[in-house]
């Protein structure tokens, strides 16, 4: 089992002829993912590493089963690309594009909700189920990806794409491995928050614990704490909160767009307090995470 994607998961890449998309399309194919098409308006008829390129999403969905789409188009076109995928009936969307204003992100997510479509991101790298499927650009070249992500029992959710790989690598090295890793995105409005995704990990029999990586800004950690209190989850949660130095620098932004301390709920100190009160283990150091997971699951 796994979360959201699986061995037969098929997807397309919107913006497939872009520089970054060319790279991760090749990487995903090498990793074993099933990419059934790509879209770039005006470039229909070409192919990218054997993946046929179309002008519209519907050309692909009319003839093939498409479970998901990775969107990596320039930010001015991102909302339209998402609407196109949703209207074509695609049910899982990963938005890699960075710098989308929150109003546009809220529009995408609202439209997706109306059509029961799952959105991961914006400003994320996607999902990996180690050795099964990679949906997005997480982990880089397939050879590096296999090094950092080995199958195992820990679910990972992270607001940073790079730190998703860092944490999964540590879990892999410790022997725990990774069930499903999701880079949820670093923006203030994202399609799926920790607490939105927890029920999916809860249902996944391969997952025995969940690790989250978080940052200053936003209420998603407070919301996760509330979720943990209200749901008697079988899954222990270990959290790491980066950017603690930002507590002394209100109004400054480091790292990601969503990373800023304006209000109390934004501050690492407040997040840590709320999560600890809800029974979530908060790691003091990034290197402590695997050991704490082992403690919590008695491994």
């Amino acid at each position: 089992m796994s979360v959201l994607v699986h061995a037969d998961f098929t997807f397309i890449v919107q913006g497939i002829t872009g520089r970054e998309a060319l790279n991760f399309t090749r990487e995903c194919l090498e990793y074993g993912s099933k990419i059934v098409g790509g879209v770039t308006p005006g470039k229909g008829g070409r192919d990218v590493y054997g993946v046929p390129v179309y002008d519209t999403v519907r050309e692909i969905t009319q003839s093939k089963k498409v479970d998901g789409s990775v969107i990596t188009v320039p930010l001015a076109f991102a909302p339209d690309a998402a609407f196109e995928a949703i209207d074509a009936g695609i049910k899982n969307i990963v938005i890699i594009t960075e710098g989308i204003p929150r109003r546009d992100a809220a529009q995408i997510v609202e439209y997706a909700d109306l059509h029961e479509v799952r959105v991961i991101g914006p400003n994320c790298l996607g999902i990996i189920v180690p050795d099964v499927c990679r949906f997005g650009s997480l982990g880089g070249p397939a050879v590096d990806c296999r090094k950092a992500f080995k199958p195992g029992c820990v679910g990972v959710m992270s607001r940073s794409g790079g730190m998703t790989t860092e944490i999964c690598n540590a879990l892999t090295a410790s022997g725990l491995g990774v069930s499903t890793a999701i880079s949820v995105g670093g923006d203030p409005v994202i399609g799926s928050t920790y607490s939105d995704l927890m029920p999916l990990f809860e249902k996944d029999e391969d997952t025995k614990a969940v690790v989250i990586y978080s940052e200053p800004g936003g209420a998603s950690e407070a919301q996760l704490a509330l979720w943990a209190k209200e749901n008697n989850s079988r899954l222990p949660i270990v959290a790491f909160v980066a950017g603690r130095f930002m507590d002394d620098m209100p109004g400054m932004s480091f790292g990601h767009a969503g990373t800023v301390v304006e209000r109390k709920v934004d501050s690492p100190a407040d997040k840590i307090k709320r999560m600890r009160a809800a029974g979530i283990t908060v790691a003091e150091e990034i290197g402590d995470i695997p050991g704490l997971v082992k403690e919590r699951i008695g491994a």
């Binding site: 809220a106 070249p141 950092a148 794409g161 790989t165 670093g186 990034i286």
Partner: protein, 400 residues
């Protein structure tokens, strides 16, 4: 990007929300003249974007023009949270029967625009939500449809209003919702929305912030408010070091360098971008290290860019050594980073093995990186060494 209260009120007024009669004064004499024109008692507010803990001191009242002049002298003659005031906003002091608070913002949990209001205005809305949640009311808006007036009406009703007061409040809340959405704001809040004896609603203050990501498409209103493109409007003015860093990022589009921010310590940092930089900076501080700067680099930067950044960091006064630490890299090539850093060090006439305390950037192209680092005798580590451990080694070499 934050607005001065004077600008925020100009925008409220443009959209038909009541604001006090006011004048922006640059000098004490202008404040004196403004007070005499406005008549009666006035409120003077130092226009500072980030006053920090000095916020309470930014406001003074005066009963006559001479008092206004003296107050303005004081406000313009000191700093608030390290910042001098750009001007003084002089406003007619109004009597109010009751004060409300209204905030329009985005709710990252509901993923929708949100309206939050209280009948207990003039206090911190977040504290109020914790301490007296019954006095805080909320409504969400659709991001797809134009804001529905009825949501504002429901909120006004929740605040206990009836009759013409209900209708007036509905209008103000609805306009604030429109302002939030139309101008790509992250938040617009009137913390003290006063209801005067004759039932009018007047915004006594206004906090307004525009999303950086939306700024590019808001040129028209920014020009109208007189906000210059070059204004960063951050809690601290960029230093020469910060600006030099921004130039490095701007001059070479390959990869990203940023944010580049100067600090007062002695450890130069060249660190992985995004979450990796946050984690590394914390780890260095936790080990007792005192960073000289924040300099994140990622997105597969060119050798040239890494080189320029290294020179900037290591060339800073008081910095003798640097640490190069990143999360496991995926698309950034570790070998290009290694080459750039070493080139930068050599160009400054320094010895890489002496000034690079640790190089930790495992991942893509790491084998090539290790080869280069070995050749120059630089201490490096692979992915078996955590970011925390790498930070510890760096701090031990540099000294606290």
């Amino acid at each position: 990007m934050r607005f001065y209260e004077s600008e925020a009120k100009q925008l409220l007024e443009k959209h038909g929300i009541g604001v006090p009669p006011r004048v922006v004064a640059k000098t004490p004499s202008e404040a004196e003249k403004a007070a005499s024109e406005l008549g009666g008692s006035v409120v003077l507010k130092a226009q500072v974007l980030f006053p920090g803990s000095d916020k309470a001191a930014t406001t003074k009242t005066a009963d006559n023009p001479a008092g206004a002049k003296a107050a303005a002298e004081e406000l313009l003659g000191r700093k608030f949270g390290g910042h001098a005031a750009r001007a003084v906003l002089v406003e007619k002091k109004l009597a109010s029967a009751k004060v409300f608070c209204v905030r329009a913002t985005y709710d990252g949990i509901a993923k929708k625009p949100a309206l939050i209001a209280s009948d207990l205005g003039g206090t911190d809305l977040d504290d109020l939500a914790d301490e007296q949640p019954d006095h805080v009311k909320r409504r969400h808006l659709s991001a797809l449809l134009p804001p529905s007036t009825y949501r504002s009406k429901e909120l006004a009703k929740d605040l206990g209003l009836t009759g013409s007061a209900l209708n007036r409040m509905t209008g103000v809340v609805h306009r604030l919702a429109g302002i939030l959405l139309d101008y790509d704001l992250t938040v617009v809040e009137v913390n003290s929305l006063a209801m005067t004896e004759d039932g009018k609603l007047i915004a006594l203050d206004c906090h307004m912030d525009m999303e950086i990501e939306g700024r590019a498409r808001q040129g028209k209103i920014l020009a109208e408010l007189g906000v210059d493109e070059s204004e960063a409007r951050l809690p601290r003015e960029p230093t020469e070091f910060d600006l030099a860093g921004a130039k490095i990022d701007h001059d070479d589009p390959r990869g990203v360098a940023g944010p580049i921010v100067e600090f007062g310590g002695n450890i130069g940092l060249v660190i992985g971008a995004g979450g990796g930089s946050l984690t590394t900076f914390d780890a260095v501080k936790k080990r007792g290290g005192d960073p000289a700067n924040y300099a994140a680099i990622g997105g597969n930067p060119s050798v040239k860019k890494c080189q320029a950044l290294t020179k900037l960091v290591l060339g800073k006064e008081g910095v003798e050594k640097i640490a190069v630490i990143s999360n496991v890299v995926s698309n950034t090539r570790a070998d290009l980073l290694a080459r750039g850093v070493i080139k930068g060090v050599i160009e400054l006439g320094l010895e890489p093995s002496e000034v690079i305390t640790i190089f930790r950037a495992p991942g893509a192209w790491e084998a090539d990186a290790f080869k280069i680092l070995k050749k120059y005798g630089v201490e490096f580590c692979d992915r078996s060494v955590s970011i925390s451990e790498a930070a510890k080694r760096a701090v031990e070499k540099i000294g606290r």
